[in-house]
Structures are given as C-alpha cells and as structure tokens.
C-alpha cells in the first residue's frame, strides 16, 4: 500500500548573511495510512522545519534544495504554487504550538473555520457553518453554536487548541502535522488533547505526524518514531523498539535525561555539551563531540543504514556493538 | 491624546538606551565610521555642508549684497535667469521685483533661515532638557504636571500653536523665535524624560547616589550625557522642522519681518508672480529650502540608525 507520505532525502537550507544553515539535512521517512509518527528532537534539531517543508511554508531566505515529498505518491515539490495551496488545509493540515497566536485575534471563530472550508470547496454558508459546528462538537467543545460567534481571546488555552484541531480536521485531510501542540498547555490539558487526537485519528484513519521534544508524549501516542539531531534523522523505528532498546547514543541520552527514569535520590543524567550551531557544524557526525562512544572514525559522516528489522540508524557505533574505548564524559 | 500631525513628531522614533562602548574605541569615532560607511549618509552630509557653507560665507560669495539699496537697480527687476546685469555680471538665477539678484538673496536668506532654525532649536533643546530631566529625576506631582502639559501641547498641531502665539504676541524676529521654541520644547521634554527614566534605573546612577553626589551633579554629569544620543537625532530633525515652520509662517506673512528676509519671505514675495510665468522668484528660493530640509533629514535618518543600539551588530 502506498504510504500517505513518503519523504525522500529532504534538504531545506536557509541562506543567511552569516552562512548557510542546513536546517533539514537529508531526511527520509514514510507515514502509512492511519499511522502516528513521532518526530522527536531538541529545539534546533530541524523537526519543525521538516513539518513546514512538507506544508510548503518555507519562506526566504529558506528553500527546499533537494529531495522529494510524495503525498499519496504525487511529489509535492513539482506542484505550482496554486496546486500546493489546494493541498494545504485540505489533504495535509497543520497544528501549531501556540493557539493564541495561530488564531487571528480580530476575527470570529466561525469566520476562521468557514474560510478553511470555502477555500477548498464550494458550499453554501449554512452548510459550511453546520460542518464547523459539528467539528467543534467532535473535539469536545460545549455549546458549539454560541462558541462559533466568539473570538479567540474568549477561550482558554486548551479550548483554543481544540479549535485549531477542529479546523485542521475540517476537510478530512489524509495527514495532520502537529507541531508541539501541547507544549504551551498545562499538563492536565495536555493529557486531554492527546486523548482527543488519538481518538480522532483512529476514528477517521488520518495519519498523524507529532512533532515534540517530550519523549513521554511519544511513548504513549506514537506507532513509529524518528529521532532528529542537527537536521538529520539519527534513528528511526517502531516506538516500542526505539524507546525500549535504543540504538543511537543520542536516543539513549534523551531517555536517560527523563527524570522519572531514575531512582529517587540518584544523580540525574545529562548529555554533556550543547547542540551545535547549525551554522558551524563540525565535520563528520554532528553528535561526535557529545557522544561517550565517539571513536576516531566518527569524523566521517555516517550514512543512514537500514537494518533487517526495518529500523534505520545513522551511527558508526550504535549501542549494542562493541567499541574500542569510551570517551570520558566531558 | 496625541495627534502626530507634524513633521516634528513623526520622523522621531528615538531609541531610548545609550549605545554601549565597544573595543575601547571612543564612541564618537565608532559613530563617525558607521555613519560614513553609508553612501546616502555621506551624500546628505555633503549637501548639508554645502548649504551651511553657502550660508556662512554668504557675504563673500554673493555677487551682490541684495539689501544694500545702493547696489540694486529697479530697472533690473524681474529679469529671467541668465540675464546680464547692468554692472557686467550675470544674474544667474534672475532678479526679483526690486531688482535684487536671486542668487545673492538666496545666500542671505539661507543665513537667516538656518540661524533662526538653529537658535530656536538650541533654546527649545535647553528648555526641553531641563523640563524632561526634572520630570524624570524628581518624579511625583511635578513630573505629572510637566508631562500633562507636554501631552496637551503635543496633541495640537504645531502650526496652530505658532499662529496663535504670533496672533497674541505680535510680529517680529524675537516673537517668531519664541513661537518656534514654544512649539518644539515639548518634543525634547518627552524624549529626554523617557530616556532618563530608563537610565535612572541603571546601576551607575545607583552608585552615584551611594557616593552621595549632589543631585545636580548626578543629573548633569551622569544622567544627561547618557540621554544625549536620542536627543541628537530629535534635535537634527527639529532643525529642519523649525526651518520649515518658519518658512511657512513667513510665507503667510506672519513670520520674520522684511528686514530679515528668510527663504520663506522670498518665496512669498515671488508667489504673486508665479501665475505670470516669472517662476524664478519663488522657485529658486524654494529649491534652496528643499535642499536644506532634505539634507538635514537625510543626515538625521542615518544618525538615528547609527545611534540606535538595537541595530548594533
């Protein structure tokens, strides 16, 4: 079966006055119908940029320089601007991090919902309104008729994000990209939103890419996981496999950093050093300078290799293989 | 209640923090080198230099002293540009209705326009600085009263205030300068007060307090120098605005007296001849006015970018 989304060798570079920032550097993954893919990484890892690239929302000085983005087999990169516009909000939808800023503060909710419908199909205002109302009801917003006439600032943070989700699902897209949708919300609301999203995507068979830095979210939600670092995918595979038995030292480091993974009273682990500036990447593996398993041959950039169980890894010395010596933790 | 109705207020988005020192180089040198790196700034500065030089050296470079009655001949009046003069020279820019050489009249006029503009700006600057610094430093009721007055004044267009003052005080050079000063001081007061409020919170002021320095010393030696950068930009723009306002007043017949003919008065003089095709009597003084104002604004614009610490790399 053709995957809903197949990204092949995507490269998105930003051409700034200080140099070229390779925000997305040779990223490849697929998302199957109805599947939830987690895209995990720290800030600056390129995960959001990957999402924007798929949506075609990269603005100058950024540009997709290479690769293919196949939605249901068709390469989005070959589409003209109008063709891309027809796909956005229609076959692929996106949810952003801060709902207060993503909803226009001076327009009513119904206006913002109806225009999302009207941009892609001809309906009567009444029919569009009915659809909007149903969408609000489906995401669990009480009294949807009254809420339609309200403005964004009259909603709480969690409600606003539900509205954003409702808008994303209005045109029954094949794929929804959610860029850290729960980061700006408190923990209890987070749980509710996660549950809603899971339920909705299972009901509608929509594929979901969930971008986050929070591993615990991924653990409960995703079918498959891609771990990103410095613009590249360093490890990919099923969620249980990657989180249960990570192969890449970075993934291991991320898992170890989660406080709940440690016994009380013990020292918290951390990955030494900082994410490198994307303007100034050291040659070879970008994780080299922070990796406890780094070896002299890591100055050669590792290629992505696929293992027999379908997992991919970008590392010369993945966990589970022997290394000559362990670098001391700096 | 603030109507941004004037050239006086809209070009001023003054930064409110002083520029930091870098590499130990004197701030003046750094500012100068940043400024000169921009070709537009250099062009503006060059043009301004020409204008100022023409004004200062007017008696030396004018072919004729247009206000010496012995030198002008009514028979030479209203001659077009390039006409030969009876004394053997050429009236490069033509003559006005009294037979005065336009070029000379413009040079002398530049002097007066620039002098009035600069004098009123300096006076307004001093008064505005005093008011704004006092408001910021003393605070409390005094600050409220001063700023209320400033707000109310700034909500009325400058031309209205100037006209009413002239109507009440009468005409004459001193009264025009008074009107110009009254119109301007409020901008300085407001700008320096915001700058001073920011500076007041900084640690070097606290340190000065701890050293038990007298308030006047703190204000003059510590607070004031650091509030100056935004003031320089405002003052530069204001000189242009003051010149424009004085020209407008003179054009309306309510400005400087005939004994001190500024560019505005020259333009007013030529206004009546515009329709009969003798454009040069108004046009050339107008051009001189334009060049003066534009060059000052160019320099001020570039100064603002250079002095703005937020744009420093």
């Amino acid at each position: 079966m053709t995957p809903v989304l197949a990204v092949e060798g995507l490269r998105t570079h930003f051409f700034t006055r200080q140099g070229v920032v390779k925000a997305v550097d040779d990223v490849s993954f697929t998302v199957a119908r109805g599947e939830v893919l987690g895209l995990v990484g720290e800030s600056g890892s390129g995960k959001s940029m990957t999402g924007y690239s798929i949506m075609g929302l990269i603005d100058p000085p950024g540009r997709i320089v290479d690769g293919a983005i196949r939605l249901n087999g068709a390469n989005l990169r070959t589409l003209p601007a109008e063709g891309l516009r027809r796909i956005r909000g229609n076959r692929v939808a996106m949810i952003f991090q801060d709902p207060m800023m993503t909803l226009n503060p001076v327009l009513r909710i119904d206006v913002q919902m109806i225009e999302a419908i009207a941009a892609h199909e001809k309906t009567t205002p009444a029919a569009a309104r009915a659809r909007a109302r149903d969408a609000l009801a489906r995401v669990g917003i009480p009294s949807p008729d009254e809420r339609l006439a309200a403005y964004p600032h009259q909603f709480s943070g969690g409600m606003r994000q539900r509205v954003a989700i409702a808008i994303a699902l209005l045109n029954r897209p094949d794929l929804v990209i959610a860029d850290e949708p729960t980061t700006a919300l408190d923990v209890t609301i987070q749980g509710q939103i996660l549950y809603e999203m899971q339920k909705l995507t299972r009901e509608t068979g929509t594929a979901l890419i969930w971008i986050t830095h929070d591993l615990s979210v991924i653990a409960g939600l995703a079918d498959r996981v891609c771990v990103m670092y410095a613009g590249r995918i360093v490890e990919q595979g099923s969620a249980t496999a990657v989180l249960g038995a990570p192969s890449h030292p970075y993934t291991r480091g991320l898992l170890d950093s989660v406080p709940s993974n440690h016994p009380r009273g013990g020292r918290l682990a951390q990955i030494p050093g900082m994410t490198p500036s994307l303007l100034d990447l050291p040659p070879g593996c970008p994780f080299r300078e922070r990796c406890p398993r780094a070896q002299p041959d890591c100055v050669v950039t590792p290629l992505e290799t696929t293992r027999d169980d379908g997992r991919t890894i970008r590392c010369h010395h993945p966990l589970g293989t022997a290394v000559a010596s362990m670098a001391s933790v700096r | 209640m603030s109507a941004q109705g004037d050239p006086m207020s809209t070009l001023v988005e003054a930064p409110i923090v002083a520029p930091a020192m870098r590499d130990g180089a004197s701030p003046f040198k750094r500012i100068a080198s940043d400024f000169l790196a921009n070709p537009i700034a250099v062009a503006g500065l060059a043009l301004l230099g020409l204008v100022v030089a023409a004004a200062i050296f007017a008696p030396l470079i004018s072919p004729q002293n247009p206000y010496d009655l012995g030198q002008i001949d009514i028979l030479d009046s209203k001659l077009p540009p390039g006409s030969p003069s009876s004394t053997g020279g050429t009236f490069w820019l033509g003559t006005d209705d009294q037979g005065r050489d336009m070029l000379s009249a413009i040079f002398y006029g530049l002097r007066i326009s620039l002098a009035v503009g600069v004098i009123s700006t300096v006076l307004a600057l001093v008064i505005g600085l005093a008011a704004g610094l006092t408001a910021a430093y003393v605070g409390g009721r005094i600050e409220q009263v001063i700023m209320r007055i400033v707000d109310i004044q700034l909500s009325f267009p400058s031309i209205l205030i100037a006209l009413i003052l002239i109507a009440v005080l009468g005409q004459g050079t001193g009264k025009v300068i008074t009107a110009l000063v009254t119109v301007q001081w409020a901008y300085y007061a407001r700008t320096v007060r915001s700058a001073a409020l920011v500076e007041k919170r900084k640690e070097y002021i606290e340190a000065a307090h701890c050293l038990a320095l007298s308030p006047s010393r703190i204000v003059f030696r510590h607070l004031l120098p650091n509030c100056l950068p935004p003031m320089i930009v405002v003052a530069t723009v204001q000189v242009a605005a003051a010149i424009a306002l004085e020209a407008t007043l003179s054009f309306l017949g309510l400005g400087l007296p005939i004994t001190e003919p500024s560019l505005g008065l020259l333009i007013a003089n030529g206004y009546q001849y515009l329709l009969s095709g003798k454009y040069w009597i108004s046009f050339f003084p107008g051009l001189a006015l334009l060049l003066t104002i534009v060059s000052i604004n160019l320099v001020a614009d570039q100064l603002r970018d250079v002095l703005n610490p937020r744009l420093q790399r």
Partner: protein, 327 residues
Amino acid sequence: MLVFVIRRSLQSVVVLLVMSLLVFVGVYAVGNPIDILINPQADQQDRERAIAALGLDKSLPEQYLTFLSGAFHGDLGRSFVHATSALGLILERMPATLELAAAAMLIAIVLGIPLGLWAGLRPTSVAGRTIMAGSILGFSLPTFWVGLMLIMVFSVILGWLPSNGRGPTVDLLGVPVSFLSVDGWRHLVLPATNLALFNVALLIRLTRSGAHEALLQDYVKFARAKGLTNLRVIGVHVLRNILIPIVTVIGLQFGALIAFAIVTESVFAWPGMGKLLIDSINLLDRPVIVAYLLVIVTFFIAINLLVDILYSILDPRVRLTETGTGT
C-alpha cells in the same frame, strides 16, 4: 460599552471647559480685553457702551460666566472687519474647510494604504524602496512649497487646473459643496492633494510597518497552512489587524488636517476657516481669532472622543473585555 462612552464624554466636557477657561484667561486677563474685543475705531461713547454690554466692568469670575453663556448661545463677539457675529463668520466658512479636509483624507487613504501595503509586502523590491524614500520626502517638504510647485506645474505650465478659489458650488442640504460638480472637482483637486501629502507619507509608513509586523505573526502562517489564497490572507487577516491602529491615526489626523488647511487655503485662496484666520490675524480682527480658537479646540476634543469610542468598537479584545463578556 455605554458606561465607557458616558465616562469618556464627561471627560471631554471637562477638558472643553478647561480649554475655554484657558482661552478666557488668555483674552480677558493676559491681553487687554478692551483692545481685543472692542473695535479700536469706536469712539469714546461707543466704547463705554460696549464695555458695559460686554460686562468688562464686572469682576473676572462674573465675566467668565458671561463669556460661557455667550459661548453657549453662539455669541463670541462681533468681527471688527465684517461687523457680523464672529462665530457666524466661522460657521459660514466651515463647510469649505471640512470639504477640503475630507477630500484630502480620502486621497491620503486611497494612495497611502495600498502603497504602504505594497512596501510592507515587498520591502526589498525597487518599488518598495522607492515608496519608502518617497515617503520621507512627503514629511520633509513644507506644504506651502509643494502647493506652489503644484500650481506651477498644473496651472501655469500645463494649464490643466485652476490655481485658486473654489469655483461654483452646489447646495447639498443647504450646505454649499464643491464635489458635486466637475468644475468644483477641478478646483478641489490641487489643494486637496497638497493637503493630503503629509498624510500619504504617514499612512505609507504606518501601513508598511504594520504589514511588515503582521506578516511575521503566527496567524498568517496558520492562515496559509489552511490553504487560503494570498489575497484572502492579506486582504482579510493582515488588513483587519493593521487597520485598527491605522483607523485611530486617521481619525486623529483629521483634526490636524483642519489645522494644516490654514496653509493650503492661503496658497490656493480657498475660502475656508483657515484663510479667514490668517486674514484676521493680519487685520487684527481679534474676535474672529477667539472664535476660531474655540471652534477648533471643540473639534479636537470631539475628534479625540470619537476616535476613542471607535477604537473600542473595532478591537474585539477591548470591546468584549470592557463589558466583561467571555470566559
């Protein structure tokens, strides 16, 4: 909402009273009211009669009350020159000035906002940069000079448009207006364009910075992510956000336009309040000056009030939180 309107209206009335007090003090206490209000050519008997009629022999507070009641009844003295009610003179000339100001504002909006949008959407293009450079000129050039240049080019050299006066007027609801006739328009175009220049520059800059800022906001990204056309994103999402502060500026600027019309009316001999003021200053017709002052102060205060109310209507965040609606 109603509470807000009432509160602001009361504030405005207070400011108006304060300003009237200032004008009163300026005329009656600082200046010599006898010279200001009584025709200098009146003989001794007439002067004494006028002094008694104007109550100038009474105490200052009493005089203020007389002044106020006179103001309420529309009596602000009689013009020395025209021997009619000063206020009446001003009101007679008001439609001309208002029409000029309205036409100028219209030109400024029609030119300034689209040009500013263009410059904001394509800031690095040649057009964008030219527009911004042009806007600097719009601020710095003195209005009267531009007026003269307009006359020179369009009246003298090209001969297309008349250089002064108002031309024939048509009566609309009893008020003489120029815009209902072609000849009226021909007379209106140059002075209105002249007056508009400053505001065109102002609106260009405001719209540009507003658009520039708006484009960086997340709601624009979200709107594009919904697959909306560029036209809708800019025309609805961006515009609705930047229009709110721009509308307030336009409102406040209307007051400034009425004031700056003084210069334009003088250059183009347009028979409005401004020209009347200049003539009165030159002729020392002080009652007219006082009347003009009061009228224009009232205008300013009224405009400020209206703009405040308008702003609270336009911005749903202000409107709805004022009345306490919402969760």
